[in-house]
């Protein structure tokens, strides 16, 4: 009999000869019974699926999920940063003042949040806070503009020379270098200049030239002439007339031997340059020369 023949027999590996010999032995019946009975043995119950669920939930459930969550967390981080930036910039932008500019030789019209209207004359700029408009109706003006203010709270126009306050009316403010003029066309306007307040009823003007408050004639129109493409002057030094001409036509005006402090009363067209030049030169007894974008005014006794 070979080594470990019992193991070989159990595994069916004995040769026919060996098997016959083994069957003859006394112990064979006992081994056969052992083989039969042990084949019916059963181990304790074991639920594979349940064990697997337990493994997934209690033990390894966390490990792979943490890995899986990582890219999403990264995405969330980026999203949070973007959200903060967007919100921040929204608040920043919305608190910025809105501004409107009229370039030289053009007009601009602005409708404010309360339907008030502003018409900007050439070379002018206004800015205001759209967000705080309901709390504070305030416009900062550089240049000249005509206001039609809707009724409501106090409406102020701030300039570097003076402040204009109204409740609801139509008025014109001109704030240029050394020249500050407010004209009221409807209602009542209050002008603060050098801490002194002046009330302007409809049809009156307030004019300051080079820091000097001037007496002005009563305007007879319902709105400033420039709104209808004309520039009107009433005893205004030529210097300011030239400046207005430059703005309306986007040209350069020079003068030679001309007394620019001479007062000019009259009107020039904002659409026809030749007409405008004649309108200025004829009553002032001066001549002009137009070359491209340059205009030269000179005294009658023409220089060479």
């Amino acid at each position: 009999m070979q080594e470990n023949y019992l193991a070989k027999w159990l595994n069916g590996e004995l040769s026919g000869e060996e098997l016959t010999e083994f069957k003859k032995s006394d112990a064979y019946a006992s081994y056969q019974k052992l083989k039969d009975v042990s084949a019916k043995l059963k181990a304790p119950e074991f639920d594979v699926d349940q064990a697997f669920e337990q493994l997934k939930e209690e033990r390894i459930g966390n490990a792979p999920k943490v890995i899986a969550l990582n890219p999403f967390k990264k995405f969330l981080r980026i999203a949070a940063v973007i959200a903060v930036l967007l919100t921040g910039s929204y608040f920043y932008v919305s608190t910025l003042d809105k501004s409107v500019t009229a370039q030289l030789a053009e007009h601009s019209e602005v409708i404010l949040p309360d339907n008030s209207e502003i018409i900007l004359n050439a070379g002018s700029k206004i800015s205001f806070s759209e967000k705080n408009w309901n709390e504070k109706r305030n416009v900062t003006l550089n240049g000249e503009a005509f206001f039609k203010v809707a009724k409501g709270k106090r409406f102020t126009v701030s300039t570097d020379q003076g402040t204009v306050a109204v409740l609801g009316t139509q008025f014109n403010v001109e704030n240029r270098d050394g020249f500050f003029e407010v004209t009221c066309y409807e209602g009542l306007v209050s002008v603060t200049y050098n801490n002194a307040e002046t009330k302007l009823p409809a049809g009156t003007s307030f004019l300051v030239i080079n820091g000097k408050i001037m007496n002005t004639a009563r305007p007879d129109a319902l709105q400033p002439s420039w709104v209808n493409n004309e520039s009107s002057f009433d005893r205004i030094p030529l210097e300011y007339v030239f400046a207005e001409l430059e703005r309306q036509y986007n040209i350069e005006v020079n003068s030679q031997n001309v007394d620019k402090s001479l007062l000019f009363t009259g009107t020039f067209s904002n659409t026809d340059l030749n007409m405008a030049l004649k309108s200025i030169s004829t009553p002032s007894h001066i001549n002009y020369k137009l070359e491209g974008d340059n205009v030269l005014f000179y005294a009658e006794k023409a220089p060479q």
Binding site: A7, L10, S30, A43, P44
Partner: protein
């Protein structure tokens, strides 16, 4: 796809081996609770090291982990095994026959518990789980010949115990 870290692969390995890992530890210590724990521990370790263990090595890795888990830690208890219901029809067996059967099973139970641990494991893995000697050799990390030796001795000892030689 050939990676234990793939849930599909891991799940397949679990379904194919968990029951045998459980039985293996049970044959060794006769403690069901510890056998359940051994399954969990062995597969957690496998999952944690899934990148290092190839699917081919996973099986012996599991038995190594399960084996090392209870080194010197627990006292072996009695292994209690059940028997499949007799399938043969003649249930009108004589009372003497039934009594004889009962006595035989009791003797076998006792003989199994008295077997050296490694012989019992080999015998039961073959008889209950139908494992081939080669598979058992792989689990135990020994040669097939060593398993045949254990099996031979197990049969011999059991028969002597039962027959009262």
């Amino acid at each position: 796809m050939n990676n234990v870290c793939e849930e599909q692969v891991f799940s397949t390995i679990f379904k194919a081996n968990s029951k045998t890992v459980f039985n293996y530890i049970y044959y060794k210590f006769g403690n069901e609770e510890k056998s359940h724990d051994a399954v969990q521990e062995a597969f957690v370790k496998l999952w944690e090291n899934c990148a290092k263990v190839t699917p081919e090595k996973a099986k012996s890795y599991l038995y190594t982990v399960a084996n090392n888990l209870y080194l010197n830690v627990i006292k072996a208890e009695k292994v209690r095994l059940k028997y499949a219901e007799p399938t043969y029809k003649h249930s009108n067996e004589s009372p003497e026959f039934l009594l004889e059967e009962k006595e035989y099973k009791e003797k076998l139970d006792k003989a199994l518990n008295d077997l050296p641990e490694n012989q019992r494991i080999t015998f039961l893995l073959n008889r209950i789980d139908g494992k081939k000697y080669a598979e058992i050799a792989e689990m135990e990390g020994v040669s097939i010949k060593a398993i045949e030796k254990r099996m031979h001795l197990a049969l011999k000892t059991l028969r002597e115990q039962i027959d009262g030689i």
